[in-house]
């Protein structure tokens, strides 16, 4: 068990670090985290499957400035690890990942807080103009929080596996079924968070437009996004904007690319 706990901890730490170091390439999405757990623990297929299921649950959750959403990353890591180690299937993963994500969420604020321990040192170097020290300490400050995360997840696996195994066996079937039902609904919270960020009274109508195109016309997501881009361009040339200022000539934005592509 200790080896597996270690593997989980290191994997989590690594994923977390690479995601911030490489500018959010999305390697901490549940699908990827689950897969990584599968690779680390030697059961890729289950890892991918668990990751895909949890991705659906956490689809609406994303990291946006200021908000503290349920921690899909570490919830997934723990859930997937248990599912693979205990060999109890995907339902288990869901049943564990959601509560785990809530627990981890509570650790988010203090976790990030760890980095603040370095603040006095950093400020001193800034005052001194010691940029070399700053450059040296930078990755360390970054990884301090990621090590914290890895430790938590590793510990959870190390300490919890037996308890969890017994616990899961004791759960009645209705409860697991109900969790499954709830899992399908959880996206609503994530999309609610998104709406909170994006909602503007004047633009709310486009939310419903997207909804209708998907619900009634069955258009795939990509085409709806493309349609959105088209609407935006039409509004640019025909709408309010083009009338207030005739900027189309000096506009450096939307068409630059096309211009280069097709006008030479």
């Amino acid at each position: 068990m200790i080896v597996q706990a270690l593997l989980v901890g290191v994997t989590v730490c690594l994923l977390d670090f690479l995601d911030v170091w490489l500018c959010n390439p999305m390697i901490t999405r549940p699908l990827v985290v689950g897969t990584a757990m599968g690779i680390a623990l030697g059961d890729i297929t289950t890892g991918v499957q668990v990751g895909a299921s949890l991705e659906l649950v956490f689809m609406g959750v994303m990291a946006i400035g200021g908000t503290v959403p349920p921690d899909s990353i570490h919830g997934t890591a723990v859930g997937a690890a248990y599912a693979i180690i205990l060999g109890k299937g995907i339902e288990t993963a869901i049943a564990l990942a959601v509560p785990a994500s809530i627990v981890c969420q509570m650790l988010f604020v203090p976790g990030i807080g760890i980095r603040s321990l370095f603040t006095p040192y950093v400020e001193r170097q800034v005052e001194k103009g010691n940029w070399k020290a700053l450059q040296r300490i930078f990755p360390v400050v970054s990884i301090s929080y990621e090590i914290f995360n890895g430790t938590i997840c590793g510990l959870a696996v190390f300490l919890g596996a037996d308890v969890m195994s017994a616990f899961i066996d004791s759960l009645p079937q209705t409860l697991l079924d109900g969790m499954g039902v709830a899992a399908n609904m959880l996206g609503a919270v994530g999309f609610g968070l998104l709406l909170k960020m994006m909602w503007q009274k004047k633009l709310a109508v486009y939310f419903f437009l997207g909804f209708i195109m998907a619900a009634y016309c069955g258009m795939p997501l990509m085409s709806i996004a493309l349609l959105g881009v088209i609407i935006v361009i039409v509004l640019f040339f025909e709408g309010e904007f083009s009338k207030r200022h005739t900027v189309s000539e000096t506009s450096p934005t939307v068409n630059e690319g096309e211009e280069e592509l097709f006008d030479d």
Binding site: A52, G60, I102, T174, N184, V189, M198, L203, G210
Partner: protein
């Protein structure tokens, strides 16, 4: 190659290559005091070192870029590029008001967070994830791989090129853009596309199914079927709007999740779902 495309001389090109590379780490140290300030400073260190020679000027420069900052990292490089151009001018022109450097940075971080988050964090991530998930069935590892490749196929060029774009445009242009309303149009544009995608996702990725069957006069009425005739995906829509409303009333996401889980278990138990 990029250097030539943007018409920079070799010196500027080298500097910008560094800025573009370091911009990737803008979000690497997120703290509760100044958010991404340390990543911003990390990016600007080579610029300051190159522009200024005296210890004094350099320290002032480091301080200038170790201020509260928070934006979407994929598109945030634009601002570092812009600030680089401004530092360059400031170093040449002693009259240059250095306060404007921080002002520009602060005034742009909001719009770029909005634009970047709605393009990359919601719209594009979800589209590429949809493709990845469709391949991930039966545990096929191509699912996550294709997702990562597709996502970054659009994101990486932004991360690399936007600093150059910002550098070339310069602050003058940005101010004009602000005034002429282009910035607000772009924000609006990103919101429109983002909202349409979220609307579509509400219909396809949230699922609430009533299992209850109503019988009257011998004939059966499946509630869910009826809802599907009247208004498909009505319940997911209502659930999402309800969550939105509760979040607006400052109820925590965690609370909502707990409520939904209880709802699911109880609903299943009494046979609604």
């Amino acid at each position: 190659m990029i250097r030539e495309k943007f018409g920079l001389n070799e010196e500027d090109g080298k500097l910008m290559a560094k800025v573009a590379r370091r911009s990737h780490q803008i979000n690497a140290v997120y703290t509760w005091e100044k958010f991404q300030a340390m990543g911003y400073l990390w990016t600007m260190i080579p610029v300051i070192n190159k522009m200024y020679d005296t210890e004094e000027e350099r320290i002032a420069g480091y301080k200038r870029h170790y201020e509260l900052f928070n934006t979407n990292p994929v598109v945030g490089g634009f601002i570092t590029g812009l600030n680089t151009a401004m530092e360059m001018q400031a170093a040449k022109d002693k009259e240059f008001d250095k306060a404007s450097i921080a002002a520009v940075r602060t005034s742009l971080m909001g719009p770029f967070a909005g634009i970047g988050d709605s393009i990359f964090q919601s719209t594009w991530r979800v589209i590429t994830m949809g493709i990845g998930l469709s391949l991930a069935k039966d545990g096929n590892i191509l699912g996550p791989i294709v997702f990562l490749v597709l996502f970054n196929l659009l994101a990486e060029p932004c991360r690399i090129l936007l600093p150059y774009v910002g550098f070339k445009m310069g602050s003058k242009f940005m101010l004009q853009a602000e005034e002429s309303g282009i910035m607000s149009f772009i924000t609006k544009a990103a919101s429109i596309v983002g909202l349409m995608t979220v609307g579509a996702m509400t219909a396809t990725m949230v699922s609430v199914q009533i299992g209850y069957v109503f019988t009257m006069n011998g004939s059966e009425l499946k509630i869910q079927e009826m809802i599907d005739t009247i208004f498909p995906c009505l319940l997911p829509l209502l659930l999402t709007l309800a969550c939105f409303k509760f979040l607006n009333k400052n109820i925590k996401p965690t609370t909502l999740i707990a409520i939904i889980m209880v709802l699911g278990i109880v609903g299943k138990y009494i046979g609604i779902f």
